[in-house]
Protein backbone atom coordinates (compact mmCIF):
# COMPACT_ATOMS: atom_id res chain seq x y z
CA UNK A 1 0.00 0.00 0.00
CA UNK A 2 1.47 3.32 -0.95
CA UNK A 3 1.93 6.28 1.37
CA UNK A 4 -0.99 8.28 0.01
CA UNK A 5 -3.41 5.41 0.39
CA UNK A 6 -2.29 4.88 3.98
CA UNK A 7 -2.93 8.53 4.80
CA UNK A 8 -6.35 8.39 3.16
CA UNK A 9 -7.21 5.47 5.41
CA UNK A 10 -6.22 7.54 8.40
CA UNK A 11 -8.52 10.42 7.51
CA UNK A 12 -11.73 8.59 6.67
CA UNK A 13 -14.79 9.76 8.66
CA UNK A 14 -14.97 8.61 12.27
CA UNK A 15 -17.83 6.10 11.96
CA UNK A 16 -15.58 3.98 9.74
CA UNK A 17 -12.53 4.19 12.00
CA UNK A 18 -12.01 1.28 14.35
CA UNK A 19 -11.32 2.96 17.69
CA UNK A 20 -10.66 -0.23 19.58
CA UNK A 21 -6.92 0.20 20.13
CA UNK A 22 -5.23 2.31 22.79
CA UNK A 23 -3.97 4.70 20.16
CA UNK A 24 -4.59 8.40 20.45
CA UNK A 25 -7.38 10.00 18.47
CA UNK A 26 -5.99 13.30 17.23
CA UNK A 27 -8.42 15.64 15.52
CA UNK A 28 -6.95 18.48 13.48
CA UNK A 29 -8.88 21.42 12.07
CA UNK A 30 -6.80 22.06 8.94
CA UNK A 31 -6.40 19.06 6.64
CA UNK A 32 -2.71 19.65 5.92
CA UNK A 33 -1.98 19.28 9.64
CA UNK A 34 -2.68 15.56 9.25
CA UNK A 35 0.66 15.19 7.49
CA UNK A 36 2.52 17.12 10.19
CA UNK A 37 1.03 15.14 13.06
CA UNK A 38 1.51 11.88 11.21
CA UNK A 39 5.27 12.38 11.42
CA UNK A 40 5.08 11.84 15.20
CA UNK A 41 2.22 9.35 15.41
CA UNK A 42 2.52 5.72 16.36
CA UNK A 43 0.97 3.13 14.07
CA UNK A 44 -2.27 2.85 16.08
CA UNK A 45 -2.72 6.58 16.58
CA UNK A 46 -5.53 7.96 14.47
CA UNK A 47 -5.41 11.39 12.88
CA UNK A 48 -8.60 12.89 11.51
CA UNK A 49 -9.16 16.21 9.79
CA UNK A 50 -12.47 18.02 10.35
CA UNK A 51 -12.26 20.05 7.17
CA UNK A 52 -12.06 17.87 4.05
CA UNK A 53 -8.96 18.03 1.90
CA UNK A 54 -8.83 20.93 -0.53
CA UNK A 55 -11.63 22.85 1.15
CA UNK A 56 -11.18 26.35 2.56
CA UNK A 57 -11.21 26.16 6.39
CA UNK A 58 -12.05 29.87 6.66
CA UNK A 59 -15.65 29.20 5.60
CA UNK A 60 -16.21 25.94 7.47
CA UNK A 61 -18.89 25.35 10.11
CA UNK A 62 -19.01 22.40 12.50
CA UNK A 63 -21.44 19.62 11.61
CA UNK A 64 -23.12 17.25 14.13
CA UNK A 65 -20.73 14.45 13.10
CA UNK A 66 -17.77 16.81 13.72
CA UNK A 67 -19.08 17.47 17.24
CA UNK A 68 -19.33 13.69 17.89
CA UNK A 69 -15.81 13.26 16.62
CA UNK A 70 -14.41 16.10 18.73
CA UNK A 71 -16.06 14.63 21.86
CA UNK A 72 -14.03 11.46 21.35
CA UNK A 73 -10.74 13.23 20.59
CA UNK A 74 -7.73 12.87 22.90
CA UNK A 75 -6.01 15.82 21.27
CA UNK A 76 -7.57 18.64 19.24
CA UNK A 77 -5.16 20.70 17.15
CA UNK A 78 -6.39 24.05 15.94
CA UNK A 79 -4.88 27.23 14.55
CA UNK A 80 -7.45 29.15 16.57
CA UNK A 81 -8.20 31.88 14.04
CA UNK A 82 -11.19 30.74 12.00
CA UNK A 83 -14.77 30.95 13.26
CA UNK A 84 -15.27 27.20 13.69
CA UNK A 85 -11.96 26.97 15.58
CA UNK A 86 -13.17 29.65 17.97
CA UNK A 87 -16.32 27.59 18.42
CA UNK A 88 -14.16 24.58 19.33
CA UNK A 89 -12.30 26.64 21.95
CA UNK A 90 -15.58 27.68 23.59
CA UNK A 91 -16.76 24.09 23.68
CA UNK A 92 -13.46 22.95 25.23
CA UNK A 93 -13.73 25.72 27.83
CA UNK A 94 -17.28 24.60 28.66
CA UNK A 95 -15.95 21.02 28.97
CA UNK A 96 -18.14 19.73 26.17
CA UNK A 97 -14.94 18.38 24.63
CA UNK A 98 -12.51 16.72 27.00
CA UNK A 99 -9.51 16.38 24.69
CA UNK A 100 -6.37 18.46 25.08
CA UNK A 101 -6.74 21.53 22.89
CA UNK A 102 -3.57 22.72 21.19
CA UNK A 103 -4.11 26.14 19.67
CA UNK A 104 -1.00 26.66 17.58
CA UNK A 105 -1.22 30.46 17.41
CA UNK A 106 -1.39 30.68 21.22
CA UNK A 107 1.54 28.39 22.05
CA UNK A 108 4.37 29.91 24.04
CA UNK A 109 7.26 30.61 21.70
CA UNK A 110 5.16 31.05 18.58
CA UNK A 111 6.02 34.36 16.94
CA UNK A 112 3.12 36.13 15.24
CA UNK A 113 4.41 38.51 12.63
CA UNK A 114 2.65 41.67 11.52
CA UNK A 115 1.18 41.78 8.06
CA UNK A 116 3.64 44.02 6.16
CA UNK A 117 0.88 46.08 4.55
CA UNK A 118 -1.97 46.25 7.07
CA UNK A 119 0.42 46.09 10.08
CA UNK A 120 -2.11 43.85 11.83
CA UNK A 121 -1.12 40.41 13.21
CA UNK A 122 -0.92 37.81 10.48
CA UNK A 123 -2.55 34.61 11.74
CA UNK A 124 -2.40 32.71 8.46
CA UNK A 125 -0.45 29.45 8.84
CA UNK A 126 2.12 30.63 11.37
CA UNK A 127 3.77 27.17 11.40
CA UNK A 128 4.96 27.75 7.86
CA UNK A 129 7.79 29.52 9.68
CA UNK A 130 10.32 26.76 10.59
CA UNK A 131 11.02 28.22 14.03
CA UNK A 132 7.31 28.32 14.87
CA UNK A 133 6.98 24.85 13.41
CA UNK A 134 9.66 23.51 15.73
CA UNK A 135 7.86 25.05 18.73
CA UNK A 136 4.64 23.33 17.65
CA UNK A 137 6.28 19.94 17.03
CA UNK A 138 8.06 20.00 20.42
CA UNK A 139 4.81 20.91 22.21
CA UNK A 140 2.81 18.28 20.35
CA UNK A 141 5.44 15.63 21.17
CA UNK A 142 5.22 16.54 24.86
CA UNK A 143 1.42 16.31 24.87
CA UNK A 144 1.44 12.97 23.08
CA UNK A 145 4.06 11.64 25.49
CA UNK A 146 2.07 12.77 28.51
CA UNK A 147 -1.11 11.13 27.23
CA UNK A 148 0.67 7.91 26.30
CA UNK A 149 3.69 7.61 28.61
CA UNK A 150 4.43 4.09 27.40
CA UNK A 151 5.40 5.52 24.00
CA UNK A 152 7.13 8.59 25.38
CA UNK A 153 10.53 7.58 24.07
CA UNK A 154 9.08 6.77 20.65
CA UNK A 155 7.42 10.17 20.36
CA UNK A 156 10.58 11.97 21.50
CA UNK A 157 12.63 10.18 18.87
CA UNK A 158 10.15 11.16 16.17
CA UNK A 159 10.16 14.76 17.38
CA UNK A 160 13.97 14.73 17.22
CA UNK A 161 13.88 13.40 13.64
CA UNK A 162 11.49 16.11 12.49
CA UNK A 163 13.41 18.88 14.27
CA UNK A 164 16.75 17.81 12.81
CA UNK A 165 15.21 17.75 9.33
CA UNK A 166 13.80 21.26 9.75
CA UNK A 167 17.10 22.53 11.21
CA UNK A 168 18.93 21.01 8.26
CA UNK A 169 16.69 22.83 5.79
CA UNK A 170 17.18 26.16 7.59
CA UNK A 171 20.95 25.76 7.93
CA UNK A 172 21.60 24.61 4.38
CA UNK A 173 19.41 27.19 2.73
CA UNK A 174 21.16 30.40 1.58
CA UNK A 175 20.02 33.57 3.29
CA UNK A 176 18.65 36.34 1.11
CA UNK A 177 18.80 39.13 3.66
CA UNK A 178 17.33 42.44 2.52
CA UNK A 179 15.71 40.90 -0.54
CA UNK A 180 12.43 42.69 -1.14
CA UNK A 181 9.49 40.65 -2.33
CA UNK A 182 5.93 41.03 -3.44
CA UNK A 183 3.47 38.25 -2.64
CA UNK A 184 -0.07 37.40 -3.67
CA UNK A 185 -1.50 36.71 -0.20
CA UNK A 186 -0.39 37.15 3.43
CA UNK A 187 -0.10 33.38 4.01
CA UNK A 188 3.21 33.39 2.12
CA UNK A 189 4.85 35.65 4.74
CA UNK A 190 5.79 32.86 7.17
CA UNK A 191 6.81 30.55 4.34
CA UNK A 192 9.64 32.76 3.10
CA UNK A 193 10.59 35.23 5.84
CA UNK A 194 12.98 32.71 7.44
CA UNK A 195 15.14 32.87 4.30
CA UNK A 196 15.66 36.60 4.80
CA UNK A 197 13.15 37.55 2.11
CA UNK A 198 11.15 40.54 3.24
CA UNK A 199 7.65 40.74 1.81
CA UNK A 200 6.86 44.44 1.46
CA UNK A 201 4.00 44.34 -1.03
CA UNK A 202 0.81 42.25 -1.13
CA UNK A 203 -1.75 42.09 -3.93
CA UNK A 204 -4.45 40.79 -1.58
CA UNK A 205 -3.79 42.38 1.80
CA UNK A 206 -6.12 40.11 3.75
CA UNK A 207 -8.29 37.10 2.99
CA UNK A 208 -11.35 38.23 1.03
CA UNK A 209 -10.30 41.86 0.63
CA UNK A 210 -10.39 43.41 -2.84
CA UNK A 211 -7.17 44.82 -4.30
CA UNK A 212 -6.81 48.59 -4.27
CA UNK A 213 -5.66 50.65 -7.28
CA UNK A 214 -2.68 52.16 -5.45
CA UNK A 215 -1.34 48.76 -4.35
CA UNK A 216 -1.50 47.31 -7.85
CA UNK A 217 0.06 50.40 -9.39
CA UNK A 218 2.85 50.41 -6.80
CA UNK A 219 3.58 46.73 -7.37
CA UNK A 220 3.69 47.09 -11.16
CA UNK A 221 5.84 50.22 -10.92
CA UNK A 222 8.27 48.71 -8.38
CA UNK A 223 8.66 45.55 -10.46
CA UNK A 224 9.29 47.61 -13.57
CA UNK A 225 11.89 49.80 -11.85
CA UNK A 226 13.67 46.86 -10.22
CA UNK A 227 12.77 47.78 -6.64
CA UNK A 228 11.44 44.27 -6.06
CA UNK A 229 13.89 41.34 -6.12
CA UNK A 230 11.54 38.37 -5.84
CA UNK A 231 7.93 37.54 -6.54
CA UNK A 232 6.32 35.05 -4.14
CA UNK A 233 3.31 33.19 -5.50
CA UNK A 234 1.04 30.58 -3.93
CA UNK A 235 0.94 27.28 -5.78
CA UNK A 236 -1.30 26.04 -7.38
CA UNK A 237 -2.00 29.29 -9.17
CA UNK A 238 -5.76 29.62 -8.94
CA UNK A 239 -6.49 33.19 -7.90
CA UNK A 240 -6.44 36.29 -10.08
CA UNK A 241 -3.90 37.86 -7.72
CA UNK A 242 -1.45 34.99 -8.31
CA UNK A 243 -1.96 35.09 -12.08
CA UNK A 244 -1.39 38.84 -12.10
CA UNK A 245 1.91 38.49 -10.22
CA UNK A 246 3.19 35.70 -12.46
CA UNK A 247 2.32 37.81 -15.50
CA UNK A 248 4.14 40.85 -14.10
CA UNK A 249 7.16 38.78 -12.96
CA UNK A 250 7.53 37.30 -16.44
CA UNK A 251 7.11 40.72 -18.03
CA UNK A 252 9.81 42.36 -15.90
CA UNK A 253 12.00 39.26 -15.61
CA UNK A 254 11.83 38.98 -11.83
CA UNK A 255 12.45 35.51 -10.29
CA UNK A 256 9.45 33.71 -8.80
CA UNK A 257 9.43 31.62 -5.63
CA UNK A 258 6.45 29.29 -5.47
CA UNK A 259 4.99 28.51 -2.06
CA UNK A 260 2.81 25.42 -1.77
CA UNK A 261 -0.65 26.32 -0.55
CA UNK A 262 -1.35 25.25 3.04
CA UNK A 263 -4.27 23.31 1.58
CA UNK A 264 -1.89 21.02 -0.35
CA UNK A 265 -1.57 17.53 1.09
CA UNK A 266 2.01 17.65 2.33
CA UNK A 267 3.74 18.28 5.63
CA UNK A 268 5.24 21.69 6.35
CA UNK A 269 8.69 20.08 6.25
CA UNK A 270 8.15 18.95 2.67
CA UNK A 271 6.82 22.38 1.75
CA UNK A 272 9.82 24.12 3.34
CA UNK A 273 12.11 21.74 1.49
CA UNK A 274 10.41 22.77 -1.76
CA UNK A 275 10.97 26.47 -0.98
CA UNK A 276 14.58 25.86 0.05
CA UNK A 277 15.32 24.06 -3.21
CA UNK A 278 14.06 27.09 -5.16
CA UNK A 279 15.97 29.56 -2.98
CA UNK A 280 19.22 27.66 -3.56
CA UNK A 281 18.91 28.00 -7.32
CA UNK A 282 17.91 31.67 -7.33
CA UNK A 283 20.15 34.23 -8.93
CA UNK A 284 19.47 37.53 -7.26
CA UNK A 285 21.20 40.78 -8.04
CA UNK A 286 22.54 42.96 -5.25
CA UNK A 287 19.59 43.39 -2.86
CA UNK A 288 17.97 46.77 -2.40
CA UNK A 289 17.57 48.39 0.97
CA UNK A 290 14.31 47.38 2.59
CA UNK A 291 11.88 50.16 1.80
CA UNK A 292 8.79 50.37 -0.29
CA UNK A 293 8.49 52.65 -3.26
CA UNK A 294 5.37 54.45 -4.32
CA UNK A 295 4.48 54.73 -7.94
CA UNK A 296 5.65 57.85 -9.67
CA UNK A 297 2.33 58.63 -11.27
CA UNK A 298 1.89 61.03 -14.10
CA UNK A 299 0.72 63.70 -11.68
CA UNK A 300 0.56 66.29 -14.43
CA UNK A 301 -2.35 64.27 -15.84
CA UNK A 302 -4.42 64.56 -12.69
CA UNK A 303 -5.60 68.18 -13.02
CA UNK A 304 -6.54 67.47 -16.63
CA UNK A 305 -8.39 64.27 -15.70
CA UNK A 306 -10.17 65.99 -12.82
CA UNK A 307 -11.33 68.79 -15.13
CA UNK A 308 -12.52 66.25 -17.71
CA UNK A 309 -14.35 64.13 -15.13
CA UNK A 310 -15.95 67.23 -13.62
CA UNK A 311 -17.04 68.43 -17.09
CA UNK A 312 -18.39 64.98 -17.86
CA UNK A 313 -20.52 64.90 -14.71
CA UNK A 314 -21.71 68.49 -15.13
CA UNK A 315 -22.70 67.99 -18.76
CA UNK A 316 -24.47 64.70 -17.93
CA UNK A 317 -26.48 66.38 -15.18
CA UNK A 318 -27.31 69.24 -17.55
CA UNK A 319 -28.52 66.79 -20.20
CA UNK A 320 -30.60 64.97 -17.56
CA UNK A 321 -32.04 68.33 -16.50
CA UNK A 322 -32.79 69.35 -20.10
CA UNK A 323 -34.42 65.98 -20.81
CA UNK A 324 -36.98 66.68 -18.15
CA UNK A 325 -38.02 69.97 -19.75
Amino acid sequence: MNKKALVMLLIIPIPMIPLTSNGLLIVVTFPSLVYDVKQLAYIDDTIVSIVPFGADPHEYQLTPSDIDLLKKADIIISTGHTSFEKDIRLRVESREFNGVLIEINSLEGIVIKDNPVTHQPNYHMVIYDPYNYMVFIRYLGDVMSSLRPVLSQYYKTRVGDVLSRVEGIVENSPKLNNCIAVADTPLTQYAVSWTGISIQYLVVKEHGMPASPKDIENIAYSLEKGFIDIVVVTEPISSKASSLLVELANKYDVPIVYVKSPLINKSIVDKLDYIASQISSLEINAPQSIETHSVSRQYYMYPLTSILVFSMIALTLYIIYRSGR
Partner: protein, 286 residues
Protein backbone atom coordinates in the same frame (compact mmCIF):
# COMPACT_ATOMS: atom_id res chain seq x y z
CA UNK B 1 -29.24 68.53 -27.45
CA UNK B 2 -27.49 66.52 -30.16
CA UNK B 3 -24.51 68.90 -30.04
CA UNK B 4 -24.31 68.48 -26.27
CA UNK B 5 -24.49 64.71 -26.65
CA UNK B 6 -21.64 64.74 -29.17
CA UNK B 7 -19.53 66.96 -26.89
CA UNK B 8 -20.23 64.61 -23.99
CA UNK B 9 -19.20 61.57 -26.06
CA UNK B 10 -15.91 63.33 -26.87
CA UNK B 11 -15.32 64.14 -23.19
CA UNK B 12 -16.10 60.51 -22.22
CA UNK B 13 -13.56 59.33 -24.78
CA UNK B 14 -10.96 61.78 -23.41
CA UNK B 15 -11.63 60.69 -19.80
CA UNK B 16 -11.24 57.05 -20.85
CA UNK B 17 -7.91 57.78 -22.53
CA UNK B 18 -6.52 59.81 -19.62
CA UNK B 19 -7.66 57.15 -17.13
CA UNK B 20 -5.98 54.48 -19.23
CA UNK B 21 -2.77 56.54 -19.19
CA UNK B 22 -2.72 57.26 -15.45
CA UNK B 23 -3.88 53.79 -14.41
CA UNK B 24 -4.38 50.64 -16.44
CA UNK B 25 -6.18 50.29 -19.81
CA UNK B 26 -7.67 46.94 -18.72
CA UNK B 27 -9.47 48.62 -15.81
CA UNK B 28 -10.96 51.22 -18.16
CA UNK B 29 -12.06 48.63 -20.74
CA UNK B 30 -13.66 46.42 -18.08
CA UNK B 31 -15.52 49.27 -16.38
CA UNK B 32 -16.65 50.78 -19.68
CA UNK B 33 -17.84 47.41 -20.96
CA UNK B 34 -19.77 46.57 -17.82
CA UNK B 35 -21.44 49.97 -17.68
CA UNK B 36 -22.34 49.88 -21.40
CA UNK B 37 -23.83 46.38 -21.06
CA UNK B 38 -25.94 47.29 -18.03
CA UNK B 39 -26.69 50.79 -19.30
CA UNK B 40 -28.41 49.29 -22.36
CA UNK B 41 -30.11 46.47 -20.47
CA UNK B 42 -31.45 48.61 -17.62
CA UNK B 43 -34.18 50.55 -19.56
CA UNK B 44 -35.43 47.33 -21.15
CA UNK B 45 -35.76 45.83 -17.68
CA UNK B 46 -37.65 48.96 -16.61
CA UNK B 47 -39.96 49.01 -19.62
CA UNK B 48 -40.73 45.31 -19.21
CA UNK B 49 -41.29 45.86 -15.46
CA UNK B 50 -38.81 43.18 -14.59
CA UNK B 51 -37.12 45.07 -11.75
CA UNK B 52 -37.74 42.28 -9.28
CA UNK B 53 -36.36 39.65 -11.66
CA UNK B 54 -33.39 41.82 -12.57
CA UNK B 55 -32.49 42.38 -8.94
CA UNK B 56 -32.86 38.65 -8.38
CA UNK B 57 -30.74 37.64 -11.36
CA UNK B 58 -27.40 38.22 -9.57
CA UNK B 59 -28.62 35.57 -7.10
CA UNK B 60 -28.95 33.10 -9.96
CA UNK B 61 -25.56 34.25 -11.27
CA UNK B 62 -24.05 33.48 -7.87
CA UNK B 63 -25.69 30.06 -7.82
CA UNK B 64 -24.56 29.39 -11.40
CA UNK B 65 -20.98 30.45 -10.60
CA UNK B 66 -20.83 28.25 -7.51
CA UNK B 67 -22.38 25.15 -9.09
CA UNK B 68 -20.11 25.59 -12.10
CA UNK B 69 -17.09 24.74 -9.92
CA UNK B 70 -17.99 21.07 -9.23
CA UNK B 71 -19.48 20.70 -12.72
CA UNK B 72 -16.25 21.88 -14.33
CA UNK B 73 -14.18 19.61 -12.11
CA UNK B 74 -16.23 16.48 -12.64
CA UNK B 75 -16.94 16.70 -16.38
CA UNK B 76 -14.71 16.64 -19.46
CA UNK B 77 -15.55 20.31 -20.14
CA UNK B 78 -13.30 21.83 -17.49
CA UNK B 79 -14.44 25.41 -18.01
CA UNK B 80 -16.15 27.27 -15.18
CA UNK B 81 -17.41 30.06 -17.46
CA UNK B 82 -19.10 27.52 -19.74
CA UNK B 83 -20.94 25.75 -16.92
CA UNK B 84 -21.85 28.99 -15.18
CA UNK B 85 -23.43 30.23 -18.39
CA UNK B 86 -25.33 26.97 -18.95
CA UNK B 87 -26.70 26.88 -15.41
CA UNK B 88 -27.45 30.62 -15.48
CA UNK B 89 -29.33 30.31 -18.79
CA UNK B 90 -31.37 27.32 -17.56
CA UNK B 91 -32.38 29.21 -14.41
CA UNK B 92 -33.32 32.41 -16.23
CA UNK B 93 -35.11 30.53 -19.04
CA UNK B 94 -37.13 28.67 -16.44
CA UNK B 95 -38.42 31.84 -14.82
CA UNK B 96 -38.79 33.40 -18.28
CA UNK B 97 -40.98 30.48 -19.33
CA UNK B 98 -43.18 30.93 -16.27
CA UNK B 99 -43.60 34.64 -17.06
CA UNK B 100 -44.17 33.95 -20.76
CA UNK B 101 -46.83 31.38 -19.82
CA UNK B 102 -48.82 34.08 -18.09
CA UNK B 103 -47.71 33.79 -14.46
CA UNK B 104 -47.39 37.16 -12.76
CA UNK B 105 -43.71 38.23 -13.12
CA UNK B 106 -43.48 39.10 -9.42
CA UNK B 107 -44.83 35.72 -8.33
CA UNK B 108 -42.59 33.87 -10.80
CA UNK B 109 -39.62 35.88 -9.56
CA UNK B 110 -40.55 35.26 -5.92
CA UNK B 111 -40.43 31.51 -6.61
CA UNK B 112 -37.17 31.98 -8.47
CA UNK B 113 -35.56 34.02 -5.68
CA UNK B 114 -36.67 31.53 -3.04
CA UNK B 115 -35.13 28.70 -5.02
CA UNK B 116 -31.87 30.40 -6.01
CA UNK B 117 -31.20 32.00 -2.62
CA UNK B 118 -31.78 28.79 -0.70
CA UNK B 119 -29.81 26.62 -3.08
CA UNK B 120 -27.02 29.23 -3.22
CA UNK B 121 -26.49 28.88 0.53
CA UNK B 122 -26.40 25.09 0.30
CA UNK B 123 -24.21 25.11 -2.81
CA UNK B 124 -21.87 27.72 -1.32
CA UNK B 125 -21.30 25.67 1.80
CA UNK B 126 -21.04 22.41 -0.13
CA UNK B 127 -18.51 23.75 -2.62
CA UNK B 128 -16.45 25.61 -0.02
CA UNK B 129 -16.15 22.57 2.17
CA UNK B 130 -15.95 19.78 -0.36
CA UNK B 131 -14.01 21.11 -3.34
CA UNK B 132 -10.58 22.61 -3.76
CA UNK B 133 -11.22 26.32 -4.15
CA UNK B 134 -10.41 27.44 -7.66
CA UNK B 135 -11.69 30.91 -7.02
CA UNK B 136 -12.19 33.21 -4.08
CA UNK B 137 -15.93 33.45 -3.61
CA UNK B 138 -15.61 36.61 -1.55
CA UNK B 139 -14.27 38.45 -4.57
CA UNK B 140 -17.29 37.27 -6.58
CA UNK B 141 -19.53 39.00 -4.07
CA UNK B 142 -17.45 42.13 -3.55
CA UNK B 143 -16.10 42.34 -7.10
CA UNK B 144 -12.51 42.89 -8.09
CA UNK B 145 -12.30 44.52 -11.53
CA UNK B 146 -8.73 45.66 -10.81
CA UNK B 147 -7.44 42.07 -11.00
CA UNK B 148 -8.94 41.54 -14.45
CA UNK B 149 -6.66 40.49 -17.27
CA UNK B 150 -6.90 40.94 -21.05
CA UNK B 151 -9.04 37.83 -21.35
CA UNK B 152 -11.57 39.30 -18.87
CA UNK B 153 -11.47 42.57 -20.81
CA UNK B 154 -12.24 40.66 -24.01
CA UNK B 155 -15.17 38.83 -22.40
CA UNK B 156 -16.55 42.05 -20.91
CA UNK B 157 -16.27 44.00 -24.16
CA UNK B 158 -17.91 41.15 -26.10
CA UNK B 159 -20.85 41.15 -23.69
CA UNK B 160 -21.10 44.94 -24.00
CA UNK B 161 -21.18 44.63 -27.78
CA UNK B 162 -23.82 41.87 -27.74
CA UNK B 163 -25.97 43.85 -25.29
CA UNK B 164 -25.61 47.05 -27.34
CA UNK B 165 -26.50 45.40 -30.66
CA UNK B 166 -29.45 43.33 -29.44
CA UNK B 167 -30.99 46.14 -27.38
CA UNK B 168 -30.67 48.72 -30.19
CA UNK B 169 -32.20 46.32 -32.71
CA UNK B 170 -35.07 45.20 -30.47
CA UNK B 171 -35.63 48.26 -28.24
CA UNK B 172 -38.80 49.51 -29.93
CA UNK B 173 -40.50 46.10 -29.71
CA UNK B 174 -39.31 45.61 -26.13
CA UNK B 175 -40.92 48.89 -25.06
CA UNK B 176 -44.14 48.04 -26.93
CA UNK B 177 -44.31 44.64 -25.20
CA UNK B 178 -43.72 46.37 -21.89
CA UNK B 179 -46.50 48.91 -22.51
CA UNK B 180 -49.13 46.48 -23.83
CA UNK B 181 -48.13 42.88 -24.24
CA UNK B 182 -51.47 41.66 -25.64
CA UNK B 183 -51.79 44.40 -28.25
CA UNK B 184 -48.21 43.90 -29.34
CA UNK B 185 -48.88 40.19 -29.81
CA UNK B 186 -51.96 41.03 -31.88
CA UNK B 187 -49.85 43.12 -34.24
CA UNK B 188 -48.00 39.93 -35.19
CA UNK B 189 -44.80 40.58 -33.30
CA UNK B 190 -43.27 37.34 -32.00
CA UNK B 191 -43.30 38.24 -28.34
CA UNK B 192 -41.59 34.98 -27.31
CA UNK B 193 -38.56 35.91 -29.41
CA UNK B 194 -38.16 39.27 -27.67
CA UNK B 195 -38.69 37.59 -24.31
CA UNK B 196 -35.89 35.21 -25.24
CA UNK B 197 -33.59 38.15 -26.05
CA UNK B 198 -34.23 39.83 -22.69
CA UNK B 199 -33.77 36.69 -20.62
CA UNK B 200 -30.67 35.63 -22.54
CA UNK B 201 -29.08 39.07 -22.13
CA UNK B 202 -29.97 39.08 -18.46
CA UNK B 203 -28.28 35.71 -17.97
CA UNK B 204 -25.26 36.67 -20.09
CA UNK B 205 -24.60 39.99 -18.37
CA UNK B 206 -25.13 38.73 -14.84
CA UNK B 207 -23.37 35.37 -15.08
CA UNK B 208 -20.36 36.38 -17.14
CA UNK B 209 -19.78 39.76 -15.52
CA UNK B 210 -20.24 38.66 -11.90
CA UNK B 211 -16.61 37.53 -11.73
CA UNK B 212 -15.49 40.95 -12.93
CA UNK B 213 -17.80 43.53 -11.36
CA UNK B 214 -19.13 41.44 -8.49
CA UNK B 215 -22.52 40.55 -7.07
CA UNK B 216 -23.05 43.86 -5.25
CA UNK B 217 -22.33 46.23 -8.15
CA UNK B 218 -24.46 44.13 -10.52
CA UNK B 219 -27.55 44.98 -8.49
CA UNK B 220 -26.80 48.70 -8.69
CA UNK B 221 -25.89 48.73 -12.38
CA UNK B 222 -29.00 46.81 -13.43
CA UNK B 223 -31.47 48.92 -11.49
CA UNK B 224 -30.26 52.51 -11.12
CA UNK B 225 -29.45 53.73 -14.68
CA UNK B 226 -33.03 53.26 -15.86
CA UNK B 227 -34.40 54.69 -12.62
CA UNK B 228 -32.38 57.86 -13.22
CA UNK B 229 -33.71 58.06 -16.78
CA UNK B 230 -37.35 57.40 -15.90
CA UNK B 231 -37.21 60.15 -13.29
CA UNK B 232 -36.57 62.82 -15.90
CA UNK B 233 -38.12 61.73 -19.19
CA UNK B 234 -41.21 60.03 -20.61
CA UNK B 235 -39.54 59.30 -23.93
CA UNK B 236 -38.33 55.70 -24.33
CA UNK B 237 -35.54 56.73 -26.70
CA UNK B 238 -34.25 59.42 -24.33
CA UNK B 239 -34.53 57.00 -21.43
CA UNK B 240 -32.19 54.60 -23.24
CA UNK B 241 -29.74 57.42 -23.96
CA UNK B 242 -29.75 58.75 -20.38
CA UNK B 243 -29.48 55.28 -18.92
CA UNK B 244 -26.37 54.45 -20.97
CA UNK B 245 -24.93 57.87 -20.29
CA UNK B 246 -25.48 57.72 -16.53
CA UNK B 247 -24.06 54.21 -16.36
CA UNK B 248 -20.88 55.06 -18.30
CA UNK B 249 -20.30 58.34 -16.47
CA UNK B 250 -20.76 56.62 -13.09
CA UNK B 251 -18.36 53.82 -14.08
CA UNK B 252 -15.60 56.17 -15.20
CA UNK B 253 -16.09 58.56 -12.27
CA UNK B 254 -16.11 55.59 -9.87
CA UNK B 255 -12.86 54.32 -11.32
CA UNK B 256 -11.26 57.75 -11.10
CA UNK B 257 -12.42 58.17 -7.47
CA UNK B 258 -11.02 54.72 -6.70
CA UNK B 259 -7.63 55.69 -8.15
CA UNK B 260 -7.66 59.08 -6.45
CA UNK B 261 -8.68 57.88 -2.98
CA UNK B 262 -7.39 54.29 -3.17
CA UNK B 263 -10.77 52.66 -2.60
CA UNK B 264 -12.62 49.76 -4.24
CA UNK B 265 -14.01 50.87 -7.65
CA UNK B 266 -17.15 48.73 -7.32
CA UNK B 267 -18.21 50.71 -4.24
CA UNK B 268 -17.19 54.07 -5.72
CA UNK B 269 -19.21 53.38 -8.89
CA UNK B 270 -22.28 52.36 -6.93
CA UNK B 271 -22.11 55.51 -4.83
CA UNK B 272 -21.62 57.73 -7.89
CA UNK B 273 -24.67 56.22 -9.55
CA UNK B 274 -26.67 56.75 -6.37
CA UNK B 275 -25.50 60.38 -6.21
CA UNK B 276 -26.63 60.85 -9.82
CA UNK B 277 -30.03 59.39 -8.95
CA UNK B 278 -30.41 61.83 -6.06
CA UNK B 279 -29.21 64.69 -8.27
CA UNK B 280 -31.77 63.66 -10.89
CA UNK B 281 -34.52 63.77 -8.27
CA UNK B 282 -33.42 67.22 -7.13
CA UNK B 283 -33.21 68.51 -10.71
CA UNK B 284 -36.67 67.15 -11.40
CA UNK B 285 -37.98 68.88 -8.30
CA UNK B 286 -36.48 72.19 -9.33
Amino acid sequence: MYVLAIILCIIIAMVSITLAIISNPIWVIVMLSATIAYGFLSPVIASRRLYFLASASPHSALLATITAIPLAMSTPINNVYFWALIVGLILIYFVGYLIHSGLDPDIATALFVSFTSSTSVIALYYVLTRYPIETDLTTIIIGDPLLSNWSDALIASSIALVSLVFIIVSYCEQVCIGVDRVSTRLTGIRVWFYDLIVFTLLALTTVLLIRIVGFVLEHVLILLPASIAINVTDSARRALFISVLASIVAGLTGLYMAILFDIAPAGATGLTLLAMYVAGLLLRGS
